[in-house]
């Protein structure tokens, strides 16, 4: 009976794993082959090096999209990463338990908000603010999109970073304090280095969220593909925003192929980020002191000096 259950469970897991692996391969194969068809219409140099993406004169240079993505995500992470690390340090090391619980709930709420709500808030709050504070233009652009992404990436980064910090054993904290470290020295010099693999994972997954974000960005970035982004304040686009904006009205085969090629690049970028996370994670596992903090019961036992 038990053996049968084992076999059934095993074959379910095996099938599930096979489906995931196959669909991933199919996805890459599909977008890859359909996307690469673009090089039947234009040469790769043109696609990768032209600074204009203009469907009217059938010129598809990916650089404005890539640059838009890079700037938007880079700027967002520049703010979001340190902010989220600060928030998670506050939650784990400083905030009293009730405050931490409230913050945890807020983080979960932020995580559950649909993209379109972020886009709406961006459109009604961020875009007018950018327009009024920095003057000129519509307010739609890379800066507005980055600000929206700062909020969208917080829950991802905060929750993973918080877990990473919380998983550090109490003995590390006591060890640092016992030689006369202040709380900040303990955090900076011991806890953050010890949690580094987890913190890197947090930021990389946040990056993944930002790179792939579509609707919210599309609503506030202005969707200008025809030229390289000129400033943080004028209209631009990102890879996913361009796809979602143009695919429905892409009638020519080369336009479609070009957009699918962009999707393929997006997949490659996302998979690379996941690979980076795995690399950071396995480095973390090699370190015995970054094991999980023991349960409260085990902690009491440790304080008591269990025998």
């Amino acid at each position: 009976m038990r053996l049968r259950q084992g076999i059934v469970a095993q074959s379910i897991f095996f099938t599930a794993a096979a489906i995931v692996a196959l669909s991933t391969a199919a996805l890459l194969l599909f977008t890859g082959s359909r996307g690469l068809a673009v090089f039947g219409y234009m040469n790769p140099a043109e696609f990768f090096l032209s600074g204009s993406w203009n469907q009217n004169d059938e010129n598809f240079g990916v650089l404005p999209l890539l640059a838009g993505s890079l700037l938007t995500v880079g700027l967002a992470l520049l703010i979001s990463g340190p902010l989220a690390l600060g928030v998670s340090i506050f939650m784990v090391e400083i905030a009293p338990e009730p405050v931490r619980r409230v913050m945890r709930t807020v983080v979960e709420l932020f995580a559950a908000l649909p993209s379109v709500i972020y886009g709406l808030l961006g459109l009604t709050l961020v875009v007018p603010w950018v327009r009024e504070s920095f003057g000129g233009g519509l307010g739609k652009g890379i800066l507005a999109a980055s600000i929206v992404l700062v909020f969208m990436t917080q829950p991802t980064i905060v929750s993973i970073a918080e877990d990473a910090l919380r998983a550090l054993p109490e003995s590390l904290r006591e060890g640092a304090l016992a030689v006369g470290a202040t709380r900040w020295q303990m955090i900076w010099r011991v806890l953050l280095p010890a949690a580094r693999p987890g913190l890197i994972t947090a930021v990389v997954l946040g990056t993944g969220r930002a790179v792939g974000e579509t609707i919210a960005v599309q609503m506030v970035i202005g969707n200008i593909t025809s030229r390289m982004p000129k400033s943080l304040l004028t209209g631009a686009t990102t890879m996913p925003a361009a796809i979602v904006t143009q695919l429905p009205e892409a009638t020519s085969p080369e336009h479609r192929a070009a957009l699918i090629m962009v999707a393929f690049l997006l997949l490659v970028i996302t998979f690379s980020l996941i690979a980076a996370v795995r690399a950071a994670g396995s480095r973390g596992k090699a370190r015995p002191t970054t094991r999980r903090r023991p349960s409260p019961a085990a902690q009491t036992a440790a304080v008591k000096g269990g025998d």
Binding site: P169, S171, L172, R173, E174, G175, A176, L177, A178, V179, G180, A181, T182, Q185, R189, V190, P193, A194, R287, P288, T289, T290, A302, V303, K304, G305, G306, D307
Partner: protein
């Protein structure tokens, strides 16, 4: 250099009770930890030895609801006075924990950690101070060729001696050890014990131990604690020169404990 030379200092505990919330874990303690001597605290599990020790450097401040009544002093400084700088206190009262807790950084950086927190010394001085601490903790010979390797690659016994090096590198006045050998094999234990005997030349050493032979071998003064069955609070049963406690205990509970009949 003179300012950082340890000045083994007396710690005094007067009419002290220690609480976790409403629970009095330890009561009515009066103790005197002598400089240049090793004081061992023995007693059965749960009688408050760790609580006592962890109140001396205020590391137990981290425990929610922990509270002290009475007076604990380091020299003539009141440890729990509102004006006391806790960080400075901990620099003067070092601690080695039950389980080795090296930081996930290099062997060198572990020992240098406390030295670089304030007014970091010049590189050459730092290297010398690290070497001195590692020699004092009998680890230098084993690690001198791999100071840049992660501390976590060391064996458990080496890690514990590294933690001792880390604690003495800043030359504290008092060194507290909470069952420092309980996670170690017998050979490492012997090494750490020899080390403790060596350390008392410079420090006031207080060690909690479960191991009777260890108390007998390594300490000058022994404090016997036990739990009062009436209110489950730990208290001191007997204090004396270690030889007397082990050969001629005054209190029947001490006698029973040191002869291994309970505990």
């Amino acid at each position: 250099m003179d300012a950082s030379t340890p000045s083994a200092t007396t710690m005094t505990v007067k009419d002290t009770s220690l609480f976790y919330g409403g629970f009095r874990a330890v009561k009515d303690i009066n103790l005197h930890f002598r400089p240049h001597a090793v004081t061992a605290i023995i007693g059965s599990s749960g009688c408050g030895k760790s609580t006592m020790l962890r109140s001396l450097n205020r590391i137990n401040d981290r425990v929610n609801g922990f509270r002290v009544e009475g007076t604990i002093s380091l020299g003539d400084q009141d440890v729990y006075a509102p004006t006391t700088d806790v960080v400075d206190l901990r620099r003067r009262v070092g601690m080695v924990f039950q389980r080795p807790n090296p930081f996930p950084m290099s062997i060198f950086d572990n020992v240098a950690f406390g030295l670089t927190l304030y007014a970091p010394p010049k590189r050459a001085d730092l290297e010398m101070m690290v070497e001195t601490a590692l020699r004092a903790s009998a680890l230098w010979g084993e690690v001198k060729d791999k100071l840049r390797r992660p501390a976590t690659e060391l064996s458990g016994g080496q890690q514990q001696r590294l933690c001792i090096a880390r604690a003495i590198a800043t030359r504290p006045d008092v060194l507290l050890m909470d069952e420092p050998c309980s996670a170690l094999d017998p050979i490492s234990t012997l090494k750490v014990e020899e080390l403790i005997a060596e350390l008392k030349r410079s420090y006031t050493v207080v060690i909690v131990t479960h191991n009777m032979q260890q108390a007998a071998r390594a300490s000058d003064v022994t404090v016997m604690m036990n739990m009062d069955e009436a209110d489950r609070a730990g208290h001191v049963i007997e204090v004396g020169a270690t030889d007397d406690i082990f050969t001629n205990p005054q209190h029947p509970q001490t006698e029973a404990y040191v002869s291994g009949r309970f505990g």
